[in-house]
């Protein structure tokens, strides 16, 4: 079931186009930075700072920082939105349901493949950035400046040997995937509610926008830790590059994302199991 679905998705041109954009943007970013400002320090998240040319490992950090604002959630939303609404838009959903398979299994297979593609998008972006970075700036130890603990008298710098930097990057990717989980689940829910993939993508991107806008309203700070998409949550993966790693925020964020994801996926399942499929 999953393999059928996977085959169908990877024969789609839109999937390859999305992944190609995910691979191209970091490469382009590396080229632009390499040509115009390799020796400048770039901000990563709220508190990190790296000097690009010091190591090839800086590029994945810069690319993740830039793309996690919009491009990665967009890619995730596209894959999740395609799942059900894509079939409905093609008019093939009802024929799909004629197969002697329960709706739950179909939805699970669709969700699994969309999730795999989303993971692939995140991995593509960071691997492309890593490859471009290593090519441009070399396999060297990664030095990260921790601005939160830096004062005029003390420079809080951590240096990771290349192997450790790669390990930390892997850890950061896990956080990144966790942080886009609620967007993914919301897009999947919308995908079962509408027959137009575009609406589902727009809605999922909209969730991020509304949540981020509410997060930035003075006076509504109380809401901050409970919103699905926030500036703080988006920058959370950078904690993997600080020493010592602060796990308290991560646990809270992971729980929150798990709750939102479970709620949205549950709603999607309820809806899909009961919906009248007319397309």
């Amino acid at each position: 079931m999953i393999s059928v679905e996977l085959l169908k998705q990877i024969s789609r041109r839109s999937v390859w186009a999305t992944l190609a954009v995910m691979a191209l943007v970091p490469a382009l970013l590396t080229a632009v930075i390499g040509i115009t400002r390799p020796a400048l320090a770039e901000r990563v998240g709220n508190w990190g700072s790296v000097v690009t040319e010091s190591s090839g490992f800086t590029m994945p950090l810069i690319a993740l920082n830039a793309m996690l604002l919009f491009l990665l959630p967009l890619a995730v939303a596209i894959f999740a939105a395609q799942a059900v609404a894509g079939e409905a838009a093609w008019g093939s959903l009802r024929y799909l349901l004629i197969r002697p398979i329960s709706r739950s299994r179909l939805l699970a297979a669709k969700a699994a493949v969309a999730a795999a593609l989303s993971v692939a998008a995140v991995a593509t972006a960071s691997l492309s950035a890593l490859a471009a970075g290593l090519l441009a700036f070399g396999w060297r130890p990664l030095t990260v400046l921790d601005l939160r603990h830096t004062t005029a008298f003390h420079l809080a710098v951590v240096t990771f040997p290349p192997g450790a930097a790669a390990g930390r990057l892997g850890l950061a990717l896990v956080y990144v995937m966790a942080v886009v989980a609620s967007t993914f689940a919301f897009a999947l829910l919308l995908s079962t509610l509408t027959a137009r993939p575009f609406s589902a993508v727009a809605g999922a991107v909209g969730l991020g926008l509304v949540s981020r806008a509410l997060d930035n309203v003075p006076g509504l700070h109380v809401l901050g830790p409970w919103l699905p998409v926030t500036d703080a949550g988006t920058a959370l993966w950078t904690t993997a590059f600080f020493q010592p790693v602060d796990l308290s925020g991560l646990l809270h964020a992971a729980l929150l994302q798990a709750l939102y994801t479970a709620a949205f996926l549950g709603a999607a399942w309820l809806r899909f199991a009961r919906m009248d499929v007319l397309d």
Binding site: F198, L209, A213, V217
Partner: protein, 280 residues
């Protein structure tokens, strides 16, 4: 022609829902600020301006404007502009509207005028509601603003505006934000002429603000050249009006930029709409 269009839009629930949502947002903000600590210092914008909500009624409109200008106001403006033509097309009434004995240019003009009127009303509504709530909650007092960029731990760069002056500057700020929405308005209106689905036009207008923000040097190093030419980045410069002395150079540049963007997109919309095969 304009009157007909105005009457039509005024009967739409969507119009009222948009206004209602903006009003509710401003009121919720006022309530949240009063409930969570009106005596605390709030940082507003990138400068930042430091305000204590309790001191004056004018703190609320400042907070409301700066928290809506980057997403909720662009959304409202995109809704009005995006609905204008694509809304008719989606209803299937566009070809009948064109069958009337009015030229397409006039039709387009009245659509744009009414949508622009509603957009301006949306922008004005937010600070007005917030100011009204502020008047009830905190009263007609002079507005003290500390300039966070000029302040040091030892010295607070505090300016106080008396109520009349604060009101005048608030008016200017609102006008600036309204002008700052014009590129988004024009782009959504253009998409509305091209597409027959309002959602596409609305998402496009909002998408332009996101694109503008993503292509910002804060997020994407290496695009510093573009920074002064993005359609929506400098919409927050009105906050400089509450500094002393006012830095107005960037604001003027932004207003010219808005005029160029709006003229381009509106002209494109007009060009497209005059030649369009209207099938819906």
């Amino acid at each position: 022609m304009i009157r007909v269009e105005l009457a039509k839009q005024l009967t739409r629930p969507r119009t009222y829902l948009t206004f209602l949502a903006l009003t509710a947002f401003a009121l919720a903000l006022a309530v949240a600020l009063s409930a969570t600590g009106p005596g605390r210092v709030e940082r507003v914008g990138d400068i930042p301006l430091l305000l204590v909500p309790r001191t004056s009624m004018f703190t609320l409109p400042l907070v409301a404007l700066s928290s809506t200008m980057k997403f909720f106001l662009p959304l409202a403006v995109s809704v009005f502009a995006g609905e204008a033509l694509a809304g008719e097309a989606a209803w299937g009434s566009l070809r009948y509207a064109l069958a009337r004995g009015a030229s397409r240019s006039r039709f387009l003009g009245s659509k744009a005028a009414v949508a622009a009127l509603f957009s301006i009303a949306a922008v004005v509504l937010v600070p007005v509601t917030a100011a009204a709530a502020g008047l009830v909650a905190y009263g007609w007092h002079a507005l003290p603003v500390a300039d966070g960029s000029a302040s040091t731990p030892l010295r607070l760069a505090l300016v106080s505006f008396d109520p009349g002056q604060a009101l005048g500057r608030l008016g200017l700020a609102t006008a600036y934000v309204a002008a700052g929405m014009s590129s988004i308005f024009a782009f959504a209106f253009f998409l509305s002429a091209v597409s027959s689905r309002p959602l596409v036009a609305v998402a496009g207008g909002v998408g332009l603000t996101i694109l503008s923000r993503v292509l910002n040097v804060d997020y994407l190093p290496g695009v510093a050249v573009l920074n002064g030419y993005m359609p929506n980045n400098d919409v927050d410069l009105w906050q400089h009006l509450f500094q002393q002395p006012v830095e107005s150079a960037g604001m003027l540049h932004f207003l010219v930029l808005q005029a160029v963007y709006s003229a381009t997109f509106l002209a494109l919309a007009w060009w497209w709409f005059l030649r369009k095969d209207v099938l819906e």
